[in-house]
Symmetry: D3
Subunit: 310 residues, 6 copies
Amino acid sequence: MAVFEINSIVDSLKSARQDWRASQHRSREPGGREFPSPQAIAGILEDLKGVLFPMRLGPLCLRQESEDFYIGHTLDSALHALLGQVRLELQYELREHKLSSNDIEQKAVACVQSFANALPEIRRMLDADVLAAYQGDPAARSVDEVLLCYPGVLAMIHHRIAHQFYNQDLHLLARMSSELAHSQTGIDIHPGAQIGPSFFIDHGTGVVIGETAIIGKGVRIYQAVTLGAKRFPTDANGKIEKGLPRHPIVEDDVVIYAGATILGRVTLGRGCTIGGNVWLINDVPAGGHVTQADSQGMGTCDPAAAVAGA
Amino acid sequence: MAVFEINSIVDSLKSARQDWRASQHRSREPGGREFPSPQAIAGILEDLKGVLFPMRLGPLCLRQESEDFYIGHTLDSALHALLGQVRLELQYELREHKLSSNDIEQKAVACVQSFANALPEIRRMLDADVLAAYQGDPAARSVDEVLLCYPGVLAMIHHRIAHQFYNQDLHLLARMSSELAHSQTGIDIHPGAQIGPSFFIDHGTGVVIGETAIIGKGVRIYQAVTLGAKRFPTDANGKIEKGLPRHPIVEDDVVIYAGATILGRVTLGRGCTIGGNVWLINDVPAGGHVTQADSQGMGTCDPAAAVAGA
Amino acid sequence: MAVFEINSIVDSLKSARQDWRASQHRSREPGGREFPSPQAIAGILEDLKGVLFPMRLGPLCLRQESEDFYIGHTLDSALHALLGQVRLELQYELREHKLSSNDIEQKAVACVQSFANALPEIRRMLDADVLAAYQGDPAARSVDEVLLCYPGVLAMIHHRIAHQFYNQDLHLLARMSSELAHSQTGIDIHPGAQIGPSFFIDHGTGVVIGETAIIGKGVRIYQAVTLGAKRFPTDANGKIEKGLPRHPIVEDDVVIYAGATILGRVTLGRGCTIGGNVWLINDVPAGGHVTQADSQGMGTCDPAAAVAGA
Amino acid sequence: MAVFEINSIVDSLKSARQDWRASQHRSREPGGREFPSPQAIAGILEDLKGVLFPMRLGPLCLRQESEDFYIGHTLDSALHALLGQVRLELQYELREHKLSSNDIEQKAVACVQSFANALPEIRRMLDADVLAAYQGDPAARSVDEVLLCYPGVLAMIHHRIAHQFYNQDLHLLARMSSELAHSQTGIDIHPGAQIGPSFFIDHGTGVVIGETAIIGKGVRIYQAVTLGAKRFPTDANGKIEKGLPRHPIVEDDVVIYAGATILGRVTLGRGCTIGGNVWLINDVPAGGHVTQADSQGMGTCDPAAAVAGA
Amino acid sequence: MAVFEINSIVDSLKSARQDWRASQHRSREPGGREFPSPQAIAGILEDLKGVLFPMRLGPLCLRQESEDFYIGHTLDSALHALLGQVRLELQYELREHKLSSNDIEQKAVACVQSFANALPEIRRMLDADVLAAYQGDPAARSVDEVLLCYPGVLAMIHHRIAHQFYNQDLHLLARMSSELAHSQTGIDIHPGAQIGPSFFIDHGTGVVIGETAIIGKGVRIYQAVTLGAKRFPTDANGKIEKGLPRHPIVEDDVVIYAGATILGRVTLGRGCTIGGNVWLINDVPAGGHVTQADSQGMGTCDPAAAVAGA
Amino acid sequence: MAVFEINSIVDSLKSARQDWRASQHRSREPGGREFPSPQAIAGILEDLKGVLFPMRLGPLCLRQESEDFYIGHTLDSALHALLGQVRLELQYELREHKLSSNDIEQKAVACVQSFANALPEIRRMLDADVLAAYQGDPAARSVDEVLLCYPGVLAMIHHRIAHQFYNQDLHLLARMSSELAHSQTGIDIHPGAQIGPSFFIDHGTGVVIGETAIIGKGVRIYQAVTLGAKRFPTDANGKIEKGLPRHPIVEDDVVIYAGATILGRVTLGRGCTIGGNVWLINDVPAGGHVTQADSQGMGTCDPAAAVAGA
């Protein structure tokens, strides 16, 4: 007698799937996978990291005099692989629009072309992030150490790529890209967040940055900082309104210390400093300093007090 | 001359091991590995994820019309691999009971059979978790995105499997399964925790849920929430009592915001809301709201105050 | 027509790299990779884990009677691989000292020899850490479970190795080693931190321990604890002074509960207890207890009050 | 200075390719690989071997009670992979017919469907081959040893599959399949050869069987036997005529010993025996025996002499 | 509609298997693989080659001062892997003897122990083979080139191991070991052949050496030489007699040139020379020379003539 | 008790190695591998095949518009890998010349540079070989099929590379390169053989071509043809003379059919034809035809007779 009743378990699993598909109004039609694949995205991102930083994140045996060959070859194959994933995402996202496969192909090609053209600018922004980290952390010994070892930099490489996908309405690809960094670094940046140049996250574990957050240039944040939403913006009928701006605006040169929680569409003015573990749901004026002591009266912290506490 | 004194280092390492084994009252007998292997468990869990969600977590080339073949084959080989690990765990756990290898084999087979039979129900519960995440996060665009990208869902897949192992006294397998998810997601759920259907963890980094926690249905929690124990329940002689209920009970439809810390065998009543960063060691009545302001007087927060604070 | 303008993107990427190199005053000379490789370090650490704990972290098929063969072979190849990485780091770090390749080789060999000789002592310290975890966590069922499953132990294996590198001024290797653990566990220990024996971190996600922290023996800490610096020690001219002691001293047998933040060169006296979520920037006397309530008046918590709060 | 003049070699290689493409009247257009891939075919054949003989050539961990799951899953994925290769071959072969991609798809699907349906019959023929080998070699200890170890059986598995491709005008796939066996066994059977059931090749190295050879049932041949063509059938104008029958017909139950060379459209009559190293370009009657002695007068060996020589 | 009728093909394949199993009187019982695995044997042989010749066939990074560690570790794991395969073979071979699993285990261990003890002697014999090749081929530049590059040496490494298996009645393992070499080199030596020291095969493709061949010391043969059987020794009732000596005896220092075919239990006397392409079914006296001219009268070549032809 | 006496076997193996090293006058000094590695060479050759024929032997995903990127990158890394192997060979070959490591490096670089520069010409010669195969085999359907499937072409790719190594006195690399092809194809071409353009080997198994053979352009040969040496050219003292021309000269447009054996420094005149299985040790005039019948009187076949036999 067989050890396991495989047939019967297979049947029960099938009926669980059927119930699920019925509840989701999906038909069971023959055919292959309908979504992009996180593993495929991971491979593409590995290639793109090598393309962006060949001598530091590319293959060990690469030599400087042959960088461009490596970049050209790797870029070509990464972009074609990406094209395949973009096709899958568009088919999935637009499955109710009944687009012709020709239309999908055109859209997909346009998406990837535009993504490809953005890569040099992404490199320049990441260089600025690396420099910011080097300058912002007294312990950093070189820009190379920063690029090779700092989880905050890894998170930003993924974010700047994911944000590009997000801007092209490739939400699944964007999300998969940022989750890969989240899993490795504990830093969870929504691909929609707009982040200026020279951004630096130190340590990073537990950082959460929401979809509509807007961050200026030269901002520095530490582990466990949350730039979140106050739950839940609802419309006149009490229904959750999607897409409304609901996360903080952080202006240039702000510093936010570890564990601070900033919620809602508040503005942290240029150059202000938010202390560790602060809980903040109000605006802070430019140059202000907010510490935990100031923030005890949650919901009442007015800018003046914050400045006074500095 | 050789560059390294390998022989002498090998000898020093051996004497360190001998001291350790002596201190642990272990004999040094010939023989192979005595424990289950985290890598083996990881492989089995990968297979089981494919078995549970073939078209989304199974192999890229899978086609819907052949799902059952894939499931049957993968399930069979995963269960036999699991059987091997269960044997190792039982031999290890029961090494002082001097069981015959026949007895161990019977126990191992019974364990895996019962585990296998639970898989369809696990799938149904995970479907409910996915749906809860989809409904609970306005940013989620589809149930598929949730399953493919949300770390909280990954943590729950591991947890619902690990909890099954835990219920069969396979503590090492249970722990290895949940640590795999912890490492990937930063979410640390003890395999013993009892979690009802439609559970949703958003972002998740830093969440800790203790062994004797009991969570109802439809509960939603955010990053860095702790459902922990107040240290240390001791008996009359001051000795730590193991196995006593020491973690919170969270009733249906409770929401706990980021960074809240709830300690001890307190009860969060049905439908209550716990604010971000709250520190809580008392019960909260059904429908109550607790915010950080309420919780300042740690150790004194009584239910009435909590409601009042809502 | 080709789908992508690879040539033009390659050119734009090249000019981004040229700008970066110019800004960093680096010449573009032919030649291979100049830095150690995180992947290479990862492989070396995997081997060293097997060397230190052969029957638990070594290969599945290893047998106890052949441990020494495995250890000798693996150690030899790991040390030679390490030698290669050390050479790269020394060339990089000392690139402005114009050392002869002979001098670099001698330094590299001396570094690795001294590292190799420290391994038996590292094993003994890790045994003590494992024992501390086993004794400190009522949920731990065996020392083997602790070694195989506890992220805090993994972090300490990496740290004790990384600290050795740090002491030999191999800062990149040290950092890469500790980041590997950070990525897997969410525990971020700077390789410079001095940590005594029998150290135990439970759960661990979000723990941050700074470069100049000094931790005694038998200390126990929980998730999300920060042993950080108060920003920024500056000299008379307002310039950041590097290398000054700026992180806490934690004496023997201290316990620090989850989420506590301890900043600056304060001393937590032998045997004291710091409660969860406490924010602390002052010394605590031996045997003192500090709870969140005590710490509200941030910056004013004096030792006496802390003791009174116990 | 760079060690190698990569750019200049790349340019010279490009001009070599351009000359080749010009000489072959090929344009240099953007686009991907145009041919099936030997590695892809190798993977498909490995899968098909497992499908045909699951417990002997399938995965090590397969269990008999789950054969059908494994077969169904593997078959499905192998057939879809094959479909991809068939598409490539049809596009290549029919590139001058300007077929629509729809027509190609229909042809490709029909090819693979018909191939798939032939598999059970192929298994039955291979079973007969295995049995013939077992009965024909006194040294064979079991049918299983024959299937697992005899190169002649491996060559026939490939041939019976390749012949199926050949019959569907998939000449590249057919050739790639048979070359894979040639490389492993030294047995070179043209995919066009028609070979009846219960065919056995012993040792096999150096066997060559030509495209239009016809072999009956129960035939046995040894290493280095050639069933070749007398060069060159030409038409009235002296031009080589392709496709004419030009290799031997070997009737049922013939035995041909090692090193025999049989050339041209001769017929070896039922049950005859050809001795080792014989050189033969004439018919042999049923039941005849030809030895090397008989064959010295090459070109003159008449049937009667052959029989007399027996 | 699905593209392929997988279910129906699976069913037809099942009924083909059922017919085969019925014809072979095998029951279809649940359970795993019953035979050793060629891939497993291949892995074991790779390990053993490293054990025998560590600095030349072992891992690239091996260093001479650590050879013994590598050998000990690799040997231990190869022998345990071999033990697993021996168990499978004994279960298979002895399946009708109804041995207890205890008896099988004892036999298996004894087999592998005795095999292990033979390894040093095998190394010494192979050293002599290498030396013979070096001395016998004017083109050989060093003993190391011979060991690394000569297919004849590879074939002998496999043969001397396979012969050991053969002597312990492990016929499947023996056969699999020699087929691996056959596939790589085109040299087909039956594991039963008894071959003295200092044996050298040059080029080798097409060499066949039969089961009962006996070869003295210092023998040299070239490509496509056959030491075969005259078919078929039958007993009084016309039945093939297995196990009778039926292949040549080749005495010390004989040289056999390419393509020679020597059939039956003939004796080639010490120091004789057999010319290329010779067909020989008679004894040759010590020191004799046989050329193709001599051998034309197949079946009549008497020793005197052979000497005369020299 | 341990199952195997590993220590004692390790000791016996060590003493076997010591005896061998003593017999070879080698000291046992610490240090790494002294020879090039066949696996490394295999990897380099795979890369070079892709460099030479990117769209047919390169990676599956390569696209024509990006060929040069792929070629440049792959060539650079293959040449540097080759440089490493050349260094090893030079150190080994010149170990008695006590060269400085600087001298070795210069020689190694010069070797690889010159090899690299020869690659475009090698491509052109291989194109001619492919064309010859296509034109010479009526069964060939396209030049692409020939390149992808014909073992004779694979053998020539390896040979033309190996011959380059041979010309630079890199005998081990040359030999390893040609043995790789020998193992896959059964075609054994000594790297020293000089082979003109448009050379075609059909089927190929068993072909042997000796070190000093010289082959003109447009030559065609079939399986099992030997172009060998008559043993043994000795000097006045009876000592084997190395390096003397001892293999055939084959002039332009010669055809040699299967199994023919041609030995010694004979000349096959332009355009002559050698029949199957012919044994030949004399010159053949231009345009001559030799068949097996002619060749019976081995050692006496004079050119006139050969022509008469045509």
